[in-house]
């Protein structure tokens, strides 16, 4: 038993509020005001789980966090670790003629996508990360999970199951919020993080894979764990660069200001890092970084960062390459913004798009052949809706436009949606199908694709030989994965465009298309005026 204080504590039935006196006997609650605990008597309840019982499931929405008092629990991902792959390029002339794109799930070892992350672990809302190849880990007494769900109301990032009979405290946000301000509790969480997650967290960044254990051990006690409230600034553009940051919890908004408004460069989630451009470059911050929600970061001082890049030239080279790519991508976006001063388009987030489906409404007979073709191409699930923003006689149909403020990335409980260097959205293999990105996308451009999949029985279940309850877990279930328009990359032309009988649907590079269209009009009107 981790807590000696629990020995003579009278445990109450499942769901019963925990008395303030009982909470105060636990070390982590020691410096919490008794008045607060009494006033919020119903905000923490006893939870008892039998071995094998599910504590929470991935993708479910919730508002509570769990603190394990006794027992062990496993945390795992039940969703297949794979992405939606549309394929339709069979061999042979006739087969090609009649080919449809069929969607299947493909792991990265079967289908490597451009700019796909090379992470070895999956960030979840717990003190540990899960291995990509074997997404199962163990949680023990004294550990807290569900912080992000509790603080930010994000979906559960993983399924937690009691490995032994467990007793936990389930708490609401007001209690967790106060707890997180408690020095004792913070110290315990930080110690757990330094002990269990910092290694994998650092090593998960491809660039840091070469770090040797002794250097990580050196960093372990030197890094600072910092918290930021929603909206709070972490660093400002132009400030001296004095730290390097790894995101531990929450979402960090990276943005730049330019004439016409703020340009969101990225939303960084657990496992992402920032601050290297300033440290490696001119010594000043090149962008604003602020907390989008409750954020926790690991701060590595400039001194330690410099020591690291001096000791490990490959780390320096990797960081420089990454910084260069980021800067190039940002410059490209800024260039697009600057070169075409079309306020309407900026406001609608169109000009930054890499590729758009536009419908020329002066030709479109609203027959929906494009939508039907899209659905036919993707197992009946359309990724295109013939509705969207209009500009003159053009309708920008709803298909992913990689917009300037990628709200779809906010809140992904496992950080599975992000931008490639080319700024297109990519959904990583560990998407748990919670649907939050689809809900967040203001244009309805992310769709949830259902698959019948054999639920993977995690290793921890297999070890209970002959356990009927566990054996039953391996059955066909419907799993969902988020998808965006893939431009039918296996075909020379997207299906929606190919199937439009009226020459109304076009895939265009927006800057050229709109600038060209507007340019022609300006030219014409200019001539007319002369």
């Amino acid at each position: 038993m981790l807590f000696e204080e629990l020995k003579d504590m009278q445990w109450q039935p499942d769901g019963t509020p925990v008395a303030a006196e009982d909470l105060l006997r636990l070390p982590v609650f020691k410096d919490i005001s008794p008045q607060f605990l009494k006033k919020n008597a119903n905000a923490t309840v006893w939870r008892h789980f039998k071995r094998g019982e599910i504590v929470c499931r991935e993708g479910e929405f919730g508002s509570t966090a769990f603190y394990i008092l006794e027992g062990k629990a496993s945390v795992a991902l039940a969703s297949p670790i794979a992405h939606v792959k549309a394929q339709g390029r069979p061999e042979g002339f006739l087969a090609r003629l009649t080919s449809k794109l069929t969607s299947r799930l493909a792991a990265r070892q079967d289908d490597r996508r451009e700019d796909e992350m090379d992470r070895r672990s999956i960030p979840i809302d717990a003190p540990v990360d899960l291995a990509y190849d074997h997404p199962v880990a163990e949680l023990a007494a004294g550990e807290l999970f569900g912080e992000m769900t509790c603080m930010n109301y994000y979906p559960r990032s993983a399924t937690v199951r009691a490995e032994t009979d467990c007793t936990m405290l389930e708490m609401l946000r007001n209690v967790l919020d106060v707890l997180q301000k408690s020095k004792v509790f913070r110290a315990q969480l930080d110690e757990t993080y330094r002990r269990r997650a910092l290694d994998s967290h650092l090593r998960d960044v491809t660039i840091f894979r070469g770090l040797q254990q002794d250097f990580i051990d050196h960093l372990r006690d030197r890094v600072e764990l910092m918290r930021f409230a929603p909206g709070q600034s972490i660093c400002k553009q132009g400030d001296p660069a004095d730290s390097f940051y790894l995101v531990r919890l929450g979402f960090v908004k990276v943005s730049e200001n330019y004439p016409g408004g703020e340009l969101v460069l990225a939303y960084l989630s657990r496992g992402d890092y920032f601050g290297e451009i300033g440290l490696l470059g001119g010594g000043t911050r090149t962008a604003d970084c602020s907390a989008l929600d409750h954020v926790e970061v690991v701060r590595i001082s400039a001194e330690d960062f410099r020591a690291m890049v001096e000791k490990y030239p490959e780390v320096r080279a990797g960081l420089q390459r990454s910084a260069r790519e980021r800067q190039e991508a940002n410059q490209e976006r800024l260039q697009m913004v600057r070169s075409v001063p079309l306020e309407n388009f900026l406001a609608q987030g169109l000009m930054e798009a890499q590729s758009l489906l536009v419908l020329d409404l002066s030709k479109c007979t609203r027959c929906d052949a494009c939508v039907t073709a899209c659905a036919d191409s993707h197992d009946g699930v359309t990724r295109l809706v013939r509705e969207g923003l209009r500009f003159e006689n053009f309708l920008v149909a709803t298909s992913c436009r990689q917009c300037r403020d990628p709200l779809c990335m906010v809140g992904c409980p496992v950080g599975a949606i992000r931008r490639r260097n080319s700024l297109e959205v990519i959904i990583e293999d560990w998407c748990i199908g919670c649907g939050l990105c689809a809900k967040n996308c203001p244009y309805g451009n992310i769709n949830m694709h259902s698959f019948t999949a054999q639920a993977q029985a995690p290793a921890h279940e297999v070890k209970h030989e002959g356990d009927r309850e566990h054996a039953e877990q391996k059955k066909a279930v419907v799993q969902k994965k988020a998808t965006t328009c893939d431009l039918c990359t296996d075909h020379a032309e997207p299906s929606c465009v190919y199937a439009c009988p009226h020459d109304a649907a076009h895939r265009v590079e927006p800057r050229d298309f709109f600038a060209g269209t507007l340019g022609q009009r300006v030219g014409k009107s200019g001539k007319a005026r002369k």
């Binding site: 003629l97 080919s99 007979t365 609203r366 509705e387 075909h491 299906s495 009988p501 009226h502 020459d503």
Partner: protein, 292 residues
């Protein structure tokens, strides 16, 4: 499909086919003007080509049913449908020697003329109507969603009325002195014109927007009705009236969109069945003519 300069290639090819056919017809037909054209080698060639064009045109429907099959871009099929379908008429006329015939051939000729005419009518509609719809229906929605959007508009209007009249009453009640001579009733009465207007004019219009006789179905009359309503209610309700006016405008746009959509696609109800009948009877004619 818009008939624009991108059709130039098809136009030239079609005119070339037509010109060559005309020359052949004139060269062979005029010297043998008295005889039957259909049974000659050239007549059969015209008939076969014309029928082949008809079949190609009819296959567009099949092509659309398998949109992702890589059998050529749908717009190429559509252009072929338009131009070759149109060419089938002169070719068949050359085949028949410009004779209408009787019995099955007369039916065939009638069908062909109706099919080509309806096709031309449809092509004209699909050339102009998309622009009309784009210009006139700025609040366009997906056609299949119109019913749903209408239900939402009705719900929204209902909510606005509830908020305006309920809120007014509450405000009056809160603001009234307990012993004052009934100001709550007096103020709440000020919302009566709005409630009456909603019950008698707006709600029936939103429920049955296509019904004739509603002043709100016409933009000018609706504007006048709302202007009049504004004079009858306190200024605090003018925002609500503006919102209701917006709902009416959207409702009219949906009605217009439905009408335009019907025009855009309604002609196909005639064109498609007749085309199928034409193909069927044409095949029968070919078999009978070749066999007997």
């Amino acid at each position: 499909m818009r008939i624009d300069r991108t059709h130039k290639g098809w136009l030239i090819a079609s005119l070339a086919i037509l010109g060559v056919s005309l020359l052949l017809y004139a060269f062979y037909r005029v010297p043998a003007a008295a005889g039957s054209m259909g049974g000659t080698a050239l007549g059969l060639a015209f008939g076969s080509a014309g029928f082949a064009f008809m079949i190609f045109a009819a296959l567009l429907g099949a092509r659309k049913r398998v949109p992702v099959y890589r059998f050529g871009r749908a717009q190429t099929w559509m252009r072929g449908h338009l131009w070759l379908g149109l060419l089938s008429l002169p070719l068949i006329l050359f085949h028949s020697g410009f004779r209408y015939g009787h019995g099955l051939t007369a039916w065939l000729m009638t069908l062909l003329i109706v099919v080509v005419a309806s096709g031309l009518f449809g092509a004209a509609l699909q050339h102009y109507m998309p622009r009309v719809m784009t210009r006139e229906v700025t609040m366009e929605t997906i056609y299949e969603e119109i019913g749903h959007v209408r239900a939402q508009l009705l719900e929204e209007a209902e909510e606005l009325i509830q908020q305006a009249t309920g809120g007014e009453k509450k405000a009056s009640a809160e603001g009234s002195e307990p012993d004052s001579p009934g100001p709550a009733i007096a103020v709440s009465d000020e919302t009566a014109p709005l409630r009456n207007f909603y019950q008698q004019e707006l709600k029936p219009f939103l429920e049955k927007p296509a019904a004739r006789g509603s002043a709100l179905g016409d933009a000018a009359q609706a504007r006048s009705a709302f202007t009049q309503l504004r004079t009858l209610v306190p200024a605090s309700l003018h925002t609500t009236i503006e919102d209701l006016e917006g709902i009416c405008e959207e409702e009219r746009q949906l009605t217009l969109q439905s009408h335009l959509h019907m025009w855009l696609h309604g002609w196909l109800l005639l064109h498609i069945p007749l085309s199928l009948a034409l193909i069927l009877l044409g095949a029968m004619h070919a078999v009978m003519a070749l066999r007997y």
